[in-house]
């Protein structure tokens, strides 16, 4: 039908600073473990995620490899890349959409129908998990996805490997991706196990400032009118952010023992179960410092990432109205006094 138009640039999004920060931190350090965006529809969640690819340098992959293996990798190469000549090829970072209606087959991959019928071969047709390798896997309305698919995705996201044992196919292939989920909690609750597996979590709200709202509508209409021109308008700013991210990825950031203790203390004060919260917060703080071109984490870095790293891990009464972010904010504010 309609031809593909250039995507809305990431830097052109008005407001939603915490969402943007969370996504960019994951670009700097994928080990943070993905982003969960919670909030009403139409607040720019999908737009932001789809725009991510443009912020990353292109990756080099083995030509013809369905899993985007890196030619210079020494481990984690899939079956098709071990042995034989390797033709390197450049590729934009994949951002793969996982639709709600996707079957397990499409996600995991399955027996290649054509090969089976035509040549009587038992070969594997890779699924979305293969395509997302070294990129992003985006699930819009993750809270409406069927439970067994969610479990499966979380397993793969944690192990970085997709193990397929079905339809008489037995294969394993690398599948490392940043999981980005979005959803509206009013439409269905997310299980706590699922919440905890996302590195950072952001509440995305509707902008209430009239001037900003005006600017949002203005930009949207300008983009719809002439996407190419609109993208060009933000080209310089996009490139600057892209360079910042590329630079930040190269910086080796250190974190002091004293700051680590603060993180641990904060987690203890909030009675957060497990240690994922501490790890994530430390990683996010490092990435935050790197974006600021520093090689040492400062207190301000911790403060900036505390809420997104911890808000979804606090045990809370589901019927409680209290916004847990406030508690984090108060504890963090007390640091500087």
């Amino acid at each position: 039908m309609t031809t593909a138009r250039p995507l809305f640039p990431f830097v052109a999004l008005v407001g939603q600073d915490e969402m943007k920060r969370a996504l960019v931190l994951n670009l700097v350090c994928p080990e943070i473990g993905g982003v969960l965006l919670l909030g009403h529809r139409g607040t720019g969640k999908s737009t932001a995620v789809r725009a991510l690819a443009a912020l990353m340098p292109r990756i080099t992959v083995v030509g013809g490899c369905p899993y985007h293996c890196a030619p210079d990798a020494t481990a984690g190469l899939c079956g098709s890349c071990t042995g034989g000549e390797i033709q390197p090829r450049e590729l934009g970072v994949p951002v793969v959409d996982l639709p709600l209606g996707a079957s397990e087959d499409r996600v995991v991959g399955t027996l290649d129908l054509e090969a089976a019928l035509l040549r009587g071969e038992r070969s594997f047709e890779p699924g979305l998990l293969a395509r997302a390798n070294r990129g992003f896997l985006y699930i819009d309305e993750v809270n409406l996805l069927e439970d067994h698919l969610v479990d499966l995705l979380l397993d793969v996201a944690a192990s970085g490997e997709n193990v397929v044992e079905r339809e008489s196919v037995s294969i394993r292939h690398p599948s490392r991706f940043v999981l980005v989920g979005s959803g509206n909690p009013e439409e269905g609750e997310l299980r706590p196990q699922l919440l905890d597996r996302f590195g950072v979590c952001v509440d995305v709200t509707t902008e209430t400032d009239v001037e900003r709202r005006l600017e949002i509508t203005r930009r949207r209409l300008a983009y719809e009118n002439d996407p190419a021109q609109f993208v060009a308008r933000f080209e310089a700013e996009s490139l600057a952010l892209r360079d910042d991210i590329a630079l930040a990825r190269e910086i080796d950031v250190e974190i002091d023992r004293e700051l680590c203790e603060r993180i641990a203390l904060l987690n203890a004060q909030l009675e957060i179960p497990g240690h994922r919260g501490e790890l994530t917060m430390a990683r996010a703080a490092k990435a935050h410092a790197a974006l600021d071109k520093r090689d040492r984490v400062e207190l301000g870095d911790l403060a900036s990432v505390a809420e997104m790293s911890l808000r979804h891990r606090i045990k809370r009464d589901p019927l409680d109205h209290v916004d847990v972010s406030h508690r984090i904010g108060e504890l963090v504010a007390a640091w500087t006094e």
């Binding site: 039908m1 309609t2 009403h40 529809r41 139409g42 607040t43 720019g44 639709p99 709600l100 209606g101 079957s103 397990e104 087959d105 399955t110 027996l111 129908l113 054509e114 089976a116 019928l117 035509l118 009587g120 819009d140 309305e141 409406l144 069927e146 439970d147 067994h148 079905r166 339809e167 008489s168 196919v169 509206n184 909690p185 009013e186 439409e187 269905g188 609750e189 299980r191 706590p192 196990q193 509707t206 902008e207 209430t208 009239v210 709202r213 005006l214 949002i216 509508t217 949207r220 209409l221 719809e224 009464d317 589901p318 019927l319 109205h321």
Partner: protein, 548 residues
Amino acid sequence: MSGCYPLVALAGVEHARLALLVGLVDPRLLSVLIGGELGSGKSALAMGFLDFVRRFDADVTVRKLQAPVDVEALTGGVDFARTLATRSVVRQRGVLDDADLVVVEHWQLLSPSAIQALQAFVERGGGLIATANEESPHPDWIASGVRAEMGAAEPSWLWDRIAWDRGVSRGDREQDVFGALLSARSRIDGLDVGEAERRDLETVALDLGVRGHRAGSLLVRAVRAHAALRRARAVGTEDLEFAIRCVYVPRATRLPAPPAESQSSSEPRPRPRSHGSPEPRESTVVSPSSVHLDEPRVRAAKAAAARSRGRHGSTHSSLDRGRCVSTRRAAGQRGHVAIAATLRRAALRPGQRPPVSIRPDDVMLRVHRLHTGSLHLFVVDASGSMAAGAMRSAKGAAIQVLRRAYTGRDAVAIVGFRGTKPELLVPPTRSVARARDCIERLPAGGGTPLVSALDLAAKLADRERRSTRREVRVWLWTDGRANVLGDGTPGSAESVAAEISEMCRVWRRLGIVTYVLDTRPAHDKRGDARQLADALGAEYLGITARVL
């Protein structure tokens, strides 16, 4: 999907018709959800519009769909029959691959995945006309939501008003409309919404609690298209009003705050009523935050928890949803083909020689196992002196169940009965946030329409079992006494009793797992609730709900 918003406001067929026409002026506005009661003419309107579009622009490919729709039908998939016949993979195109404009009837029956596919279609620039019942999930990426209302008018009146409908409209009038549309398209670029108006519109959006930002640009487009269609030289108030009605009002989550007094209490969001029927909500309103679970209530809740934990919902087989557990012969049925099993079966058929040929009866389908939770349906007597206690007790139990539902898959619904009729206070939901908001304000006081409450509960339970195949458990808080007949009128003790015993007979036949919780205080049990429990075939739990 998202909370149910009434489809809106002040519309009528004329308004819905206009919304569709405006969609032809600016194609980005051609996604319209038409709501309305059964027989309000919304389907006629949509179908009439389709024919009109075909005559207006012969190049537009139009498709009609009726929910529930298979996602594969929308987005395409593998045509297995032809794939087998030709021995090469034949992909089947989906409806959305070829269509420019689709009409979907019974929007409310679509699955989330089908809605997502349609959303992507609209975002690619496709046109969508959907019809739905009064209360239907309003997807906020749709341009406008309008209501078709037949009112007291005769169908002939309706046909006359729908300019493009069969027979009536051919000829000059339709040509006029075509002309108006074409000239509006050419004029739209010269129209713009001023800075001051835009600022006002954003303020209106905030007042109405419109969520998200998609509505903003749609609204500006709607204003311009409407102005262009009425041949205005500049955008005027009526254009703004039209756009607000179509784009903002269906998305409203609250009524604009009245000018004075209620500023402090404006936090809870009353949903806008499309009919404006004033509902006197007298009597007590209990907030659950003030509820302390006392011991008996905790016991009741624990009983609920223990019972449902035992089974932890139910599982059942499905051909399309859930985890794949095994395979079986297709025997003409549709579903996901198990390729390996099919090939194996074909290969093992006696007389088979390479290359393996596959016959239709070799085809094997995958069997999926779908795990569903239980629905806990709380039916609460909100009348008379026991009301406050019963309500608190029910809320306490609902909270307990939801706490567990938070980690499991159980859902909760609450029916309250008082005055003349029962009311579905919390529709079946797994969303804690949503249930919480509904539980916030449960009214109490008035007569005791037990019969119609049981009737509503039975229908709800039955529908839920059929549509979601969830196991349903009903928890009935009552003292076993009633004084209102099924039709809402007060009745004598005998006539009410007769109705109740008839209702109980029906109830037993449905075989719904039921618990009766006695709301009389322990020292004053009268046995009515126990009798009712026996008649319903329910388990009697002599739980006391303490009165304030």
